[in-house]
């Protein structure tokens, strides 16, 4: 565990972050966009835990941070899905390009 340097873990989390970002940009389905957001949030959690473990071992702030992030992510996912369902009811489709009323 000690031989794996912090940077490698950060590489992994950044890679995960940008995969989530790619998903957010290209997926046309709102639910898949939600999934990519979940991926992004998880990569952030990894970062927090890694920093806490490698840089501030005597404290546990990083861990508490990731705990709270997880709770908020859950709330956020719930609200997002409620919106998606509502959107589905009005637009009969959850393709993101159909919901463009909020334009000029």
């Amino acid at each position: 565990m000690s031989t794996v340097p912090l940077t490698h873990i950060l590489f992994v989390s950044t890679a995960l972050f940008f995969t989530g970002m790619y998903g957010l940009f290209t997926r046309r389905n709102m639910i898949t966009m939600l999934m990519s957001i979940e991926l992004i949030l998880n990569s952030v959690n990894i970062n927090f835990v890694a920093f806490n473990k490698y840089l501030f071992p005597q404290k546990m702030d990083g861990i508490f941070f990731s705990i709270f992030i997880v709770t908020i992510a859950a709330a956020e996912a719930a609200v997002a899905i409620a919106i998606i369902i509502n959107l589905y009811r009005t637009h009969k489709s959850i393709d993101v390009d159909d919901a463009t009323e909020l334009k000029w």
Partner: protein, 205 residues
Amino acid sequence: MDTSAIIFYAISAFTLAMGLMAVTSSKIFRSAIWLLLSLVGIAALYFWMQVEFIAAIQIIVYVGGIVVLIIFSIFLTQQAGTKMPKALLRRTIGSALAAFFGLAFSFNLINHYGFKSTGSQHFNASVSDVGTQMLSTTEHGYILPFEVVSMLLLSAMIGCIVIAIKPPQEHAEKIGTKPENVSSPEPEEEKVTENISEPLITTEV
């Protein structure tokens, strides 16, 4: 290259692969499953970092809760098997380029930033320590954020219910049996609440 490094590399390769598959697969249900597996991979990573409590939370909340929720919403909104429409080629290339640029940029930054540890002694994040610090009101206590988060979860729940609830008149149409005659002596407030959103004009037929 001792065994834990190997384990780490395996887990991270697995997670990244699952993540990539979740983002690029064409069937929506299948991508949900890839997401689930990648979250499990992340939980394994936590285990590798000996923060078992976080790993447990990860599995319970993320894998158990959110992904299941997502799968529910998939079934609610459409047949799982349909192929999702491919995004425009121009957009995919653009976002791929953006992602790679971001990746390269942060790699470069991470390499150049010299992380140096401050603390010396051994890191242990046992569940009891986490629990005591979570609720302690002393200097590093997290009691206040803990309460605030609970308030947040409550409001999120109420919010979801309000958003997702079906508006009453659809409810009324579904019933659709009770005739509305003008002269009916029904008590005022009952009728009023009944078609509050319906314009009064319709009653004077």
